[in-house]
Amino acid sequence: MCVKRVPITGGKIVLTDDEQSIRTLHLGFTISPHEECGVEEAVRIVEQQGGESVVLTLGPPEAEEQLRECLAMGADHAIHLVTDEQEWDAQATAAAIVETVRAEVPFDLLVFGNESADAGGYQVGIRVAYALGLPVVTGLKGLTVENGRVRAEQEVSGGRDVYDVQMPAVVTVLEGLNLPRYPSVPAKLRAQRKPVEQRRPTRIEPKLEKLRLVVPEGQGKQAEILGTGPEAAPRVVEVMQQIGVA
C-alpha cells in the first residue's frame, strides 16, 4: 500500500513566507485518512489469508515516521522513496512507484488512497495501474478478496456499485472502509525494529508545477454570539425560526 506524509492542519492554515508550503513548525504529521484505511485493510487481508504486506511512501526523510506508524499497524516491511524538499507531481510520483513495484516480487494487490489529503489529485493509483497494465477500481468502501479475485464496492449516490476483478489489481480506497486500529505500545516497539528500505528515485520534470499556494478568501467570518449557557436557548430558537427551520 502507498501512503503520503501530510501535516495535521488544525483550525487555520498559515503559509510559509515563500507561499510554497504550509507552515508546519507547530504541527504534527500523519498519513491521509483514506490511506489509514488502506493500510488497515491490507494488514487484515494478510492476517486472514497469509502473505506479506509492504508499505511504500515517496517523501522527505521525515516521512520515515509515517512508515513506522504503518509498521506499527501491522505492515511487514517498508520502502521509502526519499525525496528532497521539492514537491513531486502525480506523474513523477506514479513513475517512481511503478519503477519500484516492477523491481519487487509481484504483488497481488496494490492499495492507494482515493486522493491525498493535501494535493487531492485523484490519479496516482490509476496512473500506476495503466503503466503496469493492471485493472483498477477506485473510491472503495468495501473490499473482499477471494479465490484470486477482488469484489470491490464503490460508493455512489443512493448505494454502491460492485465490481469484480481478477488479481493482480490496483484499488483506491476511502475512509469508512474500516475502522483503523490504534497500535499498541509493544506493536510500536516492534515497528522500530522492522526493516525500512531506502531508495532515491529520479524526479522527472513536473508537467503540473506548483507555482504558489493561496489561502482562499471568505474564511474571515466572525460568529454573532447569541449568548452564554442554557439561558441562550430562547434566542437560538428565535434565530432558527428566522432561518425557517424551527
Binding site: 504550509i22 487531492g120 485523484y122 460492485v162 476511502l174 489561502v215 437560538v236 434565530v239 424551527a246
Partner: protein, 278 residues
C-alpha cells in the same frame, strides 16, 4: 480553444463544468451510454477528443475518475478541481478547498475537472452527443447494493446537528439525536467521533466524510479543523455551540453560543417544544 466536455445526464455538476467550458472556449458536450465503466468510457472520450485542446469534466466522483483514466491513457497531466484558468496557469483546490494552488500545466490536450459549486450551471439547452464505449475488458459494474433507506440523508438534510470531541461519548449523542429529530434533521459528527467509534463513518461530515449543504448546520463541541470545515462550509448558516470562545469554528460560523453543550443542547430542545406547545 476547442473543449470536449464529458457530462452525465441530469447531473448539476456536469452543467457547471459545461458553464466553465463555455467560458474558456467552444464546447462540445458528450456523454457515454451504458453501464458505468471508467476505463472504457475514458477510451471513448479519447477517441472523441481528436483535435480538442482541452478535455473537461465535473470534479465529481465519476468526473475525476474518468479524467484520471483519460490522462493516464494519454500520459498527460491532470489538474483536478480547477476553479480558474489563465493561459497555462490553473488555480485548483487542495485540502478539499481549504487551500488553493496556482500551477503551471503543460498538457496537450489540457485535462481538467471543474471544482464543484464554483461556477454557475449552464442552463442553456445543450446538445449532447452520445458516445458508445467499446468492450475493452476493463472493470465494469456487475452488481448494485442499494443504500439502506429510513431516516434523513445527511447529504440532503435541511438541518444537520453535529457533535464533536466535546460530546464526550457515544451515549452523549442522545441529546444531539433529540435536537436533530425535533428539527427534522440528520445527525452528523467530526472525524474524532468516528475514529473513537462513537458513531459510524456514515455520520461523518468533512473532507473525507460527507459534504453537506443544509439551511442550518449546528456544530456542537466541534473545534473547527479544516478537515471538518471542508465538509460543512456549504451550509447556508452555521451555529456553533462551544465551551471555548476562541475555538476556530467561530471564524466559520454565523452564530455561536458559548458554554457546555450538555446543558445548552437540551435547553434548546426544551425551548423548541415549548414554542410548539408540546
Amino acid at each position: 480553444m476547442n473543449v470536449l466536455v464529458f457530462v452525465e445526464p441530469g447531473d448539476d455538476l456536469s452543467r457547471q463544468a459545461l458553464g466553465f467550458a463555455r467560458e474558456i472556449g467552444d464546447a462540445r458536450a458528450v456523454s457515454v451510454e451504458g453501464a458505468y465503466a471508467p476505463a472504457a468510457w475514458a477510451a471513448a472520450l479519447v477517441d472523441a477528443a481528436d483535435g480538442a485542446d482541452a478535455i473537461v469534466a465535473a470534479g465529481s466522483v465519476h468526473g475525476n475518475e474518468v479524467l484520471a483514466h483519460v490522462a493516464a491513457r494519454l500520459d498527460q497531466p491532470f489538474a483536478a478541481n480547477v476553479t480558474g484558468i489563465d493561459g497555462d496557469v490553473v488555480t485548483r483546490q487542495r485540502w478539499g478547498g481549504s487551500l488553493l494552488e496556482e500551477a503551471r500545466v503543460q498538457g496537450s490536450p489540457l485535462v481538467l475537472s471543474v471544482a464543484p459549486h464554483v461556477h454557475a450551471a449552464d442552463e442553456a439547452e445543450a446538445q449532447v452527443d452520445t458516445l458508445v464505449a467499446g468492450a475493452n475488458g476493463s472493470p465494469q459494474v456487475v452488481d448494485r447494493v442499494e443504500a439502506a433507506t429510513g431516516g434523513v440523508s445527511l447529504a440532503d438534510a435541511k438541518v444537520v446537528v453535529s457533535g464533536g470531541r466535546g460530546v464526550g461519548s457515544a451515549e452523549g449523542f442522545a441529546i444531539i439525536e433529540e435536537l436533530a429529530g425535533l428539527l427534522g434533521g440528520a445527525v452528523g459528527c467530526s472525524r474524532v467521533v468516528t475514529s473513537a467509534g462513537w458513531l459510524p463513518h456514515t455520520n461523518q461530515v468533512g473532507q473525507t466524510g460527507t459534504k453537506v449543504s443544509p439551511d442550518l448546520y449546528v456544530a456542537c463541541g466541534i473545534s473547527g479543523a479544516t478537515q471538518h470545515i471542508a465538509g460543512c462550509k456549504g451550509a447556508k448558516k452555521i451555529l456553533a455551540i462551544n465551551s471555548d470562545a476562541e475555538a476556530p469554528i467561530l471564524a466559520s460560523a454565523d452564530y455561536a453560543v458559548i458554554g457546555d453543550l450538555h446543558e445548552i443542547v437540551p435547553a434548546i430542545s426544551a425551548e423548541l417544544r415549548k414554542a410548539r406547545g408540546t
